[in-house]
C-alpha cells in the first residue's frame, strides 16, 4: 500500500524584497506520511512548516520536487484538475473563525465537500453530516446555527468534521489547537486520536508546541529554515534528541509542575536570513557544538539526523543536568 503522502526534495522560494532575491522557504525536504499515522512537523515560526503543509495538500505548488498523495503524483496538476482529488487530501486551518463562511450554516459548511465531490444524494448527505457531527461530539441542533453563534472549540470541531467528511487519506492540521484554550485543546487532541483510529486517516500535524507533540505524534520531523534537522519515532526523539537544534527546542518546553525547570538551552547567534542561506549547516550560526567543518557543506539527513557531530554530541547526555 502506498504512503498517504510522499514529498520528494521539495524546494519552495518566494519572490523577495527585490528582483533576483528569493526567500528560500523550503530547501529540499523529503518526507513520508504512512496511512493511519500521525507525523508531527515541528519548528519555530519561519521554519517553513506551514508552507510544507500547504504544498502537501496542493494549496501551494513546489518550485522543485514531487508531491505524491496516495500514489498519485499531484505536483503538476492545475487547480481545476486537483479539484476531484481534494476529497482525499484535506486541511484543518489554524483559525476556524476566519476560514468558515459567516453566512453559511454549520450544516451547509460540513455538507459542502460532499456536495462538491457529489457522490451522495441529499438524504445520504444529510445522514453523513449528522453522523459526522456526532463523531466530533457536537449537538445536532447546531446544524442550523451560524459560525458567529459557536465557540472557538466548537468551530474547530466543525472544521475537523468538514475535513473528515469525505474520508480523506491525508489531513494536514496546521496548528489546529493554537487558537484554543488549554482545556479545549486537550479535548480536541483526544478527539483527533479517536477519529484517526476510526477512519484510518494519516495526519500531518504542524505545531510548535512540544506538549501537543507528546500527546499525538507517532513520528516527529524537526524543520529549521526549510530543512529537516531530525526525524524519528516520537518516543525516541522526545526522550533522546540527537540534533542540537532539537535539544534546544525541547528544552524550551515549560515544565509540568510549577517550580520545575529544565536546563534551558539558550540559543545565541543570528538566524541566517532565508534570503541568503549559508552553504553549510543552517543551524551552525546558533549551535554551541559548531566546528569550522559545519560551515562547509550542508549535512545530509543520515539515520534521521542532519548533523555531522551528532555521534559525538550524543555521548553527552548530561545536557539536561
Amino acid at each position: 500500500m502506498s504512503a498517504a503522502l510522499q514529498l520528494d526534495d521539495i524546494v519552495r522560494r518566494f519572490p523577495g524584497p527585490q528582483r533576483g532575491l528569493f526567500v528560500h522557504a523550503l530547501n529540499g525536504v523529503s518526507l513520508t506520511v504512512n496511512a493511519g499515522e500521525t507525523v508531527a512537523l515541528v519548528g519555530e515560526s519561519g521554519s517553513g512548516k506551514s508552507t510544507l503543509g500547504r504544498i502537501a495538500v496542493r494549496l501551494d505548488r513546489p518550485d522543485e520536487g514531487t508531491v505524491t498523495i496516495a500514489g498519485r503524483d499531484t505536483t503538476r496538476l492545475s487547480l481545476a484538475s486537483l479539484r476531484p482529488l481534494r476529497a482525499m487530501m484535506q486541511m484543518v486551518f489554524q483559525d476556524p473563525w476566519g476560514t468558515l463562511n459567516p453566512r453559511r450554516s454549520i450544516g451547509a459548511a460540513i455538507e459542502e465537500p460532499l456536495v462538491l465531490h457529489g457522490k451522495l444524494d441529499a438524504t445520504a448527505r444529510r445522514a453523513t453530516v449528522l453522523r459526522m457531527l456526532e463523531r466530533v461530539r457536537l449537538q445536532p441542533e447546531l446544524l442550523t446555527r451560524y459560525p458567529a453563534q459557536l465557540s472557538g472549540g466548537q468551530l474547530q470541531r466543525v472544521a475537523i468534521a468538514r475535513a473528515l467528511v469525505t474520508n480523506p487519506k491525508l489531513v494536514v492540521l496546521d496548528e489546529p489547537t493554537s487558537s484554543l484554550d488549554l482545556s479545549v485543546r486537550a479535548d480536541i487532541l483526544q478527539l483527533l486520536r479517536q477519529l484517526q483510529e476510526e477512519f484510518g486517516t494519516a495526519f500531518l500535524f504542524i505545531t510548535h508546541d512540544i506538549g501537543t507533540v507528546r500527546l499525538i505524534a507517532d513520528r516527529i520531523i524537526v524543520l529549521y529554515l526549510g530543512s529537516i534537522m531530525e526525524e524519528g519515532p516520537a518516543t525516541s526523539v522526545l526522550a533522546s534528541p540527537r540534533h542540537p537544534y532539537t535539544r534546544a527546542l525541547l528544552s524550551a518546553e515549560p515544565g509540568t509542575f510549577p517550580g520545575q525547570h529544565r536546563q534551558r538551552i539558550m540559543l545565541d547567534g543570528e538566524i541566517p536570513s532565508p534570503l541568503n542561506l549559508p552553504p553549510g549547516c543552517p543551524f551552525a550560526t546558533r549551535c554551541q557544538y559548531a566546528i569550522p567543518a559545519c560551515a562547509n557543506a550542508k549535512p545530509q539527513l543520515v539515520q534521521g539526523v542532519a548533523c555531522i557531530r551528532s555521534r559525538e554530541i550524543g555521548e553527552q547526555p548530561a545536557m539536561r543536568e
Binding site: 486551518f93 489554524q94 476560514t99 463562511n101 459567516p102 453566512r103
Partner: protein, 284 residues
Amino acid sequence: MNTALRRAKALILSTPVGAAGLAIVLLYALVALFAPALAPHPPIKAFADSVLAAPDAQFWFGTDGNGMDVFSRILYGARYAFGISIPVLAIGMVCGVPIGLIAGYRGGWVDELALRLMDVLRVFPSIVLALAIVAATGQTLANVVIVIAILDIAVFVRVVRAEVLTLRASGMVDAAINAGNPTWRILLVHLLPNSLRGALAQMPIRMAWAVRVSATLAFIGVGVQVPEPEWGAMIREGSEYVISGEWWVALLPGTALVILVIALSMLGDGLSDLLDPRRAGRAR
C-alpha cells in the same frame, strides 16, 4: 406589525442619525413618486402674467423667470435626483463589484491592471472629467448617467477588493479551495456575500455624490437643461435673480438639494455604523 414597530424603534435607538437620514430620503422618494398628485401646477407651465412672483397663496414658493411654479418644479426635481442617482448606482455596482471581486481574488497582474485603470479614473477631478466627456459625447441625460457611473466604478472596485483581500488573508479562500470549490463558486458563494459590506455602506454616499455632480453639471449648463425641472438647472436659471432680490428662484431648489444630500450622507453614516463588524460584535 408590532415587531416591525419594535424593529423601527431599535433602529432609531441604535443609529438616530441614520434613521433621521432614512426618513428624509424616504420622504423625498415619496415626493418623487407622487409628484404629479402633489404638485399644485404642472412643472413646465408658464404663467405669463406672474413672472418672478414672490411666494404667496397661489405660488407657495413663487415663480421663476419663465413664470413657472417653483414649488411644483422642486417636487418634480426629486424625480431627476433619483432618476439619475439610482441608475448611476446600479451601473457603478454592476461593473465595480465584479471587477473588485476578481482583482482581489486573482491578484497579480489582473489586480495591478484593475488598480491602474481605477487610478486613471481617480486622478482627474471628477467634475472636469464629467464635463469634458458629456460635452464631447452629447448632452443627453443618458450620457450624464453613464459618465457619473463610470467615475463611481472605481469606488466600488476599491471597497470590494479590500474586503476580498481581508477574506483571503483570513484563510477563507484557501478553505474554500480545500473543500473542492470551483473558482466561480468561490467568487459567488463565498466571497461575494461577504465582501459587500463596504459597498452597501457606500451606496447612500455615492448616491449623494451623484445627485450633487448631476446638479453641478446642470448648473454649469451641461446635461439637463431648462425648462426641465432639474434642481441644478433651476439654480442656474435662478442665480441671475438673486442679486435683484428674487431669491426664491435659486435658493429654494438649492435648499431641497442640500437637504437631500445631507440626508443621504446621514444615512450612509448610519449604515456604516450598523455594518461595522466591531460594533455588531460576533452576535447576529
